[in-house]
């Protein structure tokens, strides 16, 4: 059906940007496959071990932007040993060798060494954007290399990484000729920063729209920086501690008034609550507010702040806001789309800062809410049913009850019905995390109703293999399934082995799966890597197949067992 010349088709493809859609388009016919692959510029690889760097380059020689994810999600919670893998260097090496014109690199949960950053900075002349989320393995020396060598750097975005801080003025390594910065996020850096170099950098970056500072930047330095960048749209303060009676503080108040474009505010990594009034004047413009790293702000001060934020669409906050504070959010922030409530004291007992009441209030007051992460002390079925009725738009619903197997405290029933209501009502739900006391019944509901579900996180839930089977059979779009401490075993694992090739990955830890079960699965499915993480030499490979496996991670792959697996990881 090729009535159009290739250039026309290529032009049409230029409007198709979503990865899923481009994948679909490439399957239509050989000709479209070829055109698509030669014109693809942005490549997303959800599991860096699913394909080799050479394979990516062979198929997409014109790629400019690469997104890579490494470790499994549960690595965030210390469930995956360090040295598990997810190493960046081979990718940079391969790309450098084949002279790919890489311009953007986005990484999540990968091990990034200083050598790889240095190689990156020297190999790609037009490199523009580096975004590292939850990565580790690098120091400020690597950042210095990027600063010094990437002449057209626009974006350096470091989110929640573990960065080793060395002596050195890495910020000063940005040459005087570097004036292209648009986004600079340093919030996760722990060490001191050369403040005057930072100020000069900001001063010569007229396009700077997003700036997030680290804790080492005090309030008076913030004021000087803001004077140079009144055009900022996204600001992350560093330390926000000062004597409210001082000159410096008053100067800051005046400077902030000039920053009329700020829509997104975060930081407050150290905060004196009495200083918060300085930002009240800009609150009415805010669409995004992240106070989740701000320690010790009293609920009342938070409320005073929130009351000015009528346009808020995204709010990340600590649970010291309390149910009462969430009520204020509900009545003030009618545009709210995303809410995350983090625990200020994760191990605190009886610290009932937020309960189901806060969530119900939010659901009643914020009709546009679609993304939720909520840590709380307790939840009831009635509350969840009410939330489901009020808000059927959820695409992401993550509920974490701090006591992982707590039942409904009013009825002492499991929370099956509550979550069931959520999945039944929210037809566009793509991501779900469960907690609380849960039986197989909740999985029956999920299998029945959660048709769009792509990612499911299960912990301490279910009674039998039936639970897992309901999910595997029912959720046709499931891509990532991660389970810990639940009684699912070989029967569930092996019932439908083909399913896993339709998914990105499966994680099961502290379940009932045995070594024999894993071996069977691995034997039947060569397109899967079935990895056993064997810490403390718990499993003897030659021994009993009936032994339970502590941690199993399996994922589909085109390239077979990985060669960089450490000795405690066995690929069966």
């Amino acid at each position: 059906m090729n009535y159009f010349p290739d250039e026309v088709i290529e032009h049409v493809f230029g409007f198709i940007t979503s990865h899923k859609e481009r994948n679909a388009v490439s399957l239509v016919c050989k000709s479209w496959y070829k055109i698509e692959r030669m014109s693809r510029q942005r490549v997303f690889i959800g599991n860096c071990y699913a394909i080799s760097p050479e394979g990516v380059i062979a198929r997409f020689p014109e790629l400019k932007s690469l997104t890579l994810k490494g470790k499994p999600h549960f690595a965030d919670f210390n469930l995956v040993p360090h040295d598990w893998g997810g190493i960046l260097y081979p990718w940079i090496e391969a790309f450098a060798k084949s002279r790919v014109g890489l311009e953007e690199l986005r990484l999540k949960r990968m091990v990034v060494s200083d050598e790889s950053l240095e190689l990156l900075s020297k190999s790609f002349v037009n490199f523009k954007a580096l975004v590292l989320v939850s990565c580790e393995g690098f120091s400020t020396d690597g950042l210095a290399a990027v600063a010094a060598n990437c002449r057209f750097l626009r974006e350096l975005d470091l989110q929640e990484n573990e960065v080793e801080d060395h002596r050195g003025h890495w910020i000063s390594r940005f040459p005087e000729s570097c004036t292209s910065l648009v986004s600079l996020n340093l919030a996760c850096l722990k060490g001191e920063i050369n403040l005057s170099a930072l100020e000069r950098l900001v001063a010569r970056s007229p396009n700077l729209k997003s700036l997030r500072l680290s804790r080492a930047v005090p309030l008076d330095a913030l004021q000087k920086i803001l004077m140079r960048a009144p055009q900022l749209v996204d600001l992350g303060t560093g330390s926000f501690v000062h004597d409210p009676a001082s000159d410096a503080y008053n100067k800051l108040k005046a400077t902030i008034l000039k920053c009329k474009s700020i829509k997104s505010l975060s930081g407050f990594l150290e905060v004196a609550p009495r200083c918060l009034s300085a930002i009240h004047p800009i609150c009415h413009n805010l669409t995004s507010l992240n106070l989740s790293y701000a320690p010790g702000i009293h609920g009342n001060d938070l409320i005073k702040l929130i009351q000015h934020c009528r346009k808020l669409e995204r709010l990340w906050i600590l649970d010291c806001i309390g149910d009462k504070g969430l009520g204020i959010v509900a009545s003030t922030c009618k545009e709210l789309q995303e809410l995350r409530v983090f625990p200020s004291d994760p191990y605190g007992v009886g610290n009932a800062a937020v309960t189901e009441e806060g969530l119900v209030a939010i659901s009643a007051g914020c009709p546009k809410l679609h993304s939720l992460l909520y840590f709380c002390q307790q939840m009831t079925n009635a509350a969840l049913i009410t939330v489901a009725k009020n808000c059927s738009n959820f695409t992401r619903f993550r509920l974490c009850i701090l006591d992982p197997i707590r039942p409904d405290p009013v009825t002492m029933q499991p929370l099956d019905e509550g979550f069931g209501a959520i999945v039944q009502s929210c037809k566009r739900l793509r991501r779900l995390s469960l907690s609380g006391l849960l039986t197989d019944r909740v999985f029956l509901y999920i299998g029945m109703y959660a048709e769009q579900l792509e990612m499911l996180s299960i912990a301490f839930a279910g009674d039998s293999d039936k639970g897992m089977l309901y999910v595997l059979n029912g959720c046709k779009k499931l891509r990532k399934l991660e389970i810990r401490d639940s009684p699912f075993g070989d029967t569930a694992l092996l019932m439908d082995v083909g399913k896993y090739e339709t998914m990105r990955s499966l994680w099961m830890s502290s379940c009932e799966v045995t070594l024999g079960g894993c071996k069977t699965l691995a034997k039947n499915r060569p397109m899967l890597n079935v990895e056993i993480i064997n810490e403390d030499d718990q499993i003897d490979f030659s021994s009993d197949d009936r032994q339970k496996v502590g941690k199993m991670y399996l994922y589909r792959t085109l390239v077979g067992p990985r060669k960089d697996a450490p000795e405690f990881v066995w690929t069966l």
Partner: protein, 326 residues
Amino acid sequence: MSASGSVSTVSRDDNLVLSSEDSSSPDESDLELGLGLSLGGNCGFKLQQQPASGAQYARIFTAKDFPSSSLSSSSSSLSRTNHASAGSKRSADSVANAASSWLFAFTLLANPKFRTYASWGILGILCTILIDMGPTASQVVGWPPIRAYRRNSMANQAKSVATEEYNSMIEKHKRKNGVVEKTTNGSNKNNGTSRTRTSLFVKVNMDGIPIGRKVDLGTHSCYETLAQTLEDMFHRPTTTITGMRSSIQEHDTRVEATRRSKLLDGTSDFVLTYEDKEGDWMLVGDVPWGMFLGSVKRLRIMRTSEATGLAPRLQESSGRQGNKPI
């Protein structure tokens, strides 16, 4: 040209967009759910989900919470990784749990419907469980699911809630004046490797001082530095922000050993002891550091005179330096 089936399977696989195979229809037989007093397993209850790690939680025990495998808690066929996580003991909960369990048992027995053989069995199990429980193993690895980065940040920030911000502002003004100052020296990691240090905060109490402290064992790599830190902490008791700030700095640096600590060599009036996971009080310094980290729950600086049953060297040298508290 029709969409040809000759598009190679390579490309299909390549896209990782595989058509899902037809799955078997879901089992729709009746679920045997819910709480029933059916006889099964080795206790009278239908077994509810057992938290596989065997840890206890702060909650009211319900009937569903009596797992059979807690009776055989010694058989650790389930993996238990030993990541140091920021710990706070919840010992109060074990009392609460015990109380509520008994309450539940009596409620059960009060109801004639439940006065069966099974419920006496439950009572027996309760006894076994309560005896078995001991000190609450309050931390489950990786729960609550908070990113390690955030967890570490919060642990460090907990100390920086200053009641007198003005003092701390003065402090910072002096030190940070646009000049690069290196207080953190690449020291959040173990030497050379890129390991992330996880916090392990434990309580420290000293005999004679009513208010305790907390120390982050994760910042230390040997007994010397720990004892050093403790000596400084309790020798120079301070409630000013200056003191708090300096202890904050310590938590961001690897403490380096400078001199042999008096707490460790027995020349002091006090000895350093710790409570281990089994609830026993032990003298600090006997086992390798790593093993110590894995079993310590809290520390106590104990008067030597109270430390009966310890090696003779300590009893000999007690009273030698009576002037200094440590």
